[in-house]
């Protein structure tokens, strides 16, 4: 999942396309096909929303109704009644993960991109490999360690575990961006007597804020979506995440699918926001390197 964002950061050259002298009617037909394909692809999401609005009595009717003819908000009432604490925990864990990820990844990336540490290449390699380790295995190791330390079921323990999903990705994204910061910008700061730390805080970080938003959004989304760490490291405590909330819903009340799907809809909100917001920021992160003053 992680690396797939990189190509999106590649400079877009929409202009380069197969030459087409096609008539408008042809492109309209293509648009219609495109809309149909998108509708097929997004059908499960439509169905999730449809089911979330279906009254329990009609849930098992056959054939199922294709539109929420008599929509009910019972499912969403159940979310408000049952799931708010879970949503709160996920929000807290997500924000915690964002903070940890950026605090660790940004300085490291600055060093890798601009300070040329000896052995930096090896470290980048280790970070790439780290992304390939299956999460289930990390969970097992974390479980053994947390059990010994007695920190199972702590929300901040989950923050640490979740951040392992995002830190390598964060370093790679930040490094790619910071390489593009002109060296003149930094030698100017050096002439003014700024050390590496001052340069980092007052020049590199502000210039990199768009990539920070990108890294932050993905770190949040992964922490928000995490199920493996939640279910292994944090399944017994008071503060459980929304993914566990849904999971318990599925296990406990098998009949209330409108509540389950309503929770799923609510849990999808961050992803939707990310899609709307990050599209802009991923592109902005690429072009924002330009020096204005």
């Amino acid at each position: 999942m992680t690396t797939a964002v990189r190509p999106a950061a590649a400079p877009r050259s929409e202009a380069r396309r197969a030459s087409s002298g096609r008539a408008g009617r042809r492109s309209l037909a293509t648009t219609v096909i495109g809309v149909v394909l998108t509708a097929i692809m997004l059908f499960p999401i439509y169905w999730m929303i449809n089911v979330s609005l279906t009254p329990t009595a009609q849930m098992r009717q056959s054939p199922p109704s294709w539109f929420p003819a008599a929509p009910t908000l019972d499912g969403y009432r159940a979310v408000v009644a049952d799931q708010l604490p879970y949503l709160g925990t996920s929000l807290l864990v997500g924000i915690g993960t964002v903070v940890v990820t950026i605090a660790l990844a940004a300085p490291a990336a600055y060093s890798l991109a601009k300070l040329r540490p000896r052995g930096g290449g090896a470290l980048s390699f280790v970070l790439l490999v780290a992304q390939m380790i299956p999460q289930v295995i990390m969970a097992m190791g974390f479980y053994a360690i947390y059990l010994n330390l007695g920190i199972l079921d702590e929300w901040w323990g989950l923050v640490i575990a979740d951040s392992t999903l995002a830190v390598p990705f964060g370093v790679l994204i930040f490094t790619a961006f910071m390489r593009g910061i002109p060296d003149e910008l930094m030698s100017a700061a050096k002439l003014d007597g700024a050390g590496a730390w001052r340069t980092f805080i007052s020049i590199v970080l502000p210039v990199s804020r768009n990539s920070a938003v990108t890294v932050g959004l993905f770190a949040f989304l992964w922490a928000w979506s995490d199920f493996v760490f939640s279910s292994t490291l944090n399944s017994g405590g008071d503060a459980q995440t929304i993914t566990l909330g849904i999971y318990r819903y599925i296990g406990n009340n098998n009949q209330e699918w409108n509540s389950i799907m309503a929770t799923a809809v609510v849990a999808s909100i961050p992803a939707t926001v990310l899609l709307v917001v990050a599209q802009r920021y991923v592109a902005a992160g690429v072009t924002a390197g330009a020096v204005k003053d």
């Binding site: 809309v35 169905w47 009717q61 300085p107 040329r116 999460q135 289930v136 097992m140 493996v228």
Partner: protein, 324 residues
């Protein structure tokens, strides 16, 4: 990246040769030692972090796989070393065969479909037509959703009695399919859901690959009177081969890891019907009230080896491409 190669060479040489004077740089004073110190000071947090939160859990995992661990031994710290016994147990387990085959089928079939559908869609969206950018963005939604959301939605859609899929099949005159509860369909069901989730990833990478193919080639092909089919097989596909290799290898690494979807939809069942290595490892470690951490870690280590083999092939291919 290439713009600072000059700069880099300049910076590297004094460090490499120890105390020799830095090459002429009128305004820049370089003191390699303090420079390296600062560079590593910025890296120190991440290095410590990697050591504590990656290396330690992994070492712990290897440790688990070579000892006879029970819940009790976590408390009294008493787990006898048993060498490769856990691995032997795993290899001789009746679950090993099915899990291996399921892992290979799940990974192979998922990637074959994700890649070909992703490729077709990338080529389709590469045409210029109104709304293409918006529709392409919408295609990303399945990829961004929490896996538990996608998995539970698919569970309900594939439900035997009340699912919309069976409803359509019945309308068309077919028989009800027990997607999630029959041994012959469970693996197919989780593969379908996984393909759906993976299409956007393939679409995004292949689309960006298309953007890097020079438009001149297509113009030349158009002048020569090539049709769309010829253009795809003679130009697009060969030129996309490097990007395709990367996409497929990354797909391998990520598909081997898939856990959430299968666990939520079928829990690896019925029986072993949809149990992959990732599922098996979790089942052994966390799935029952009597966990067997040793074998779980052993399965996990096998999975790591498989993932890393694919990972290293990926890195090799990528490096080769960067060089050429």
């Amino acid at each position: 990246m290439s713009t600072d190669t000059m700069e880099r060479r300049e910076a590297v040489s004094p460090a490499g040769t120890g105390g020799t004077p830095a090459p002429a740089g009128p305004t820049r004073r370089r003191r390699p030692d303090t420079g390296q110190l600062a560079a590593w000071a910025f890296l120190a947090p991440v290095v410590a972090y990697l050591a504590v939160f990656y290396v330690w859990p992994l070492v712990r995992n290897v440790d688990l796989s070579t000892h006879d661990y029970t819940v009790r031994s976590f408390i009294d710290g008493n787990a006898p070393f048993i060498g490769f016994e856990n691995f032997a147990d795993v290899f001789t387990s009746p679950t090993f065969g099915p899990a291996l085959i399921n892992t290979l089928l799940f990974t192979g079939i998922s990637i074959a479909f994700q890649f070909s559908i992703g490729m077709a869609l990338a080529v389709f969206f590469f045409q210029r037509f109104p709304l293409s950018a918006t529709l392409r963005a919408l295609f990303l939604v399945p990829w961004l959703l929490p896996l538990i959301v996608s998995a539970s939605t698919w569970s309900w859609m594939l439900n035997s009695e009340s699912g919309v899929v069976n409803s359509v099949i019945r309308t068309l005159g077919g028989d009800q399919v027990n997607w999630l509860t029959s041994p012959q369909w469970a693996l197919t069901s989780v593969i379908i859901a996984n393909i759906w989730i993976g299409i956007p990833f393939n679409l995004v990478i292949l689309y960006s690959g298309l953007q890097n193919i020079s438009g001149d080639i297509y113009e030349a092909a158009a002048l020569d009177g090539a049709n769309a089919w010829q253009v795809f097989w003679r130009i697009t596909f060969p030129l996309l081969r490097p990007v395709s290799a990367i996409t497929i290898l990354l797909g391998l690494v990520y598909t081997l890891k898939v856990f959430d979807i299968i666990w939520i939809m079928t829990r690896g069942g019925p029986g072993d019907a949809s149990t992959t290595f990732a599922i098996w490892s979790y089942q052994l470690g966390f799935g029952s009230t009597l966990p067997s951490f040793g074998p779980a870690a052993a399965v996990g280590n096998l999975l790591i080896v498989m993932a890393l083999v694919c990972g290293f092939v990926y890195l090799r291919v990528q490096r080769k491409q960067d060089q050429s």
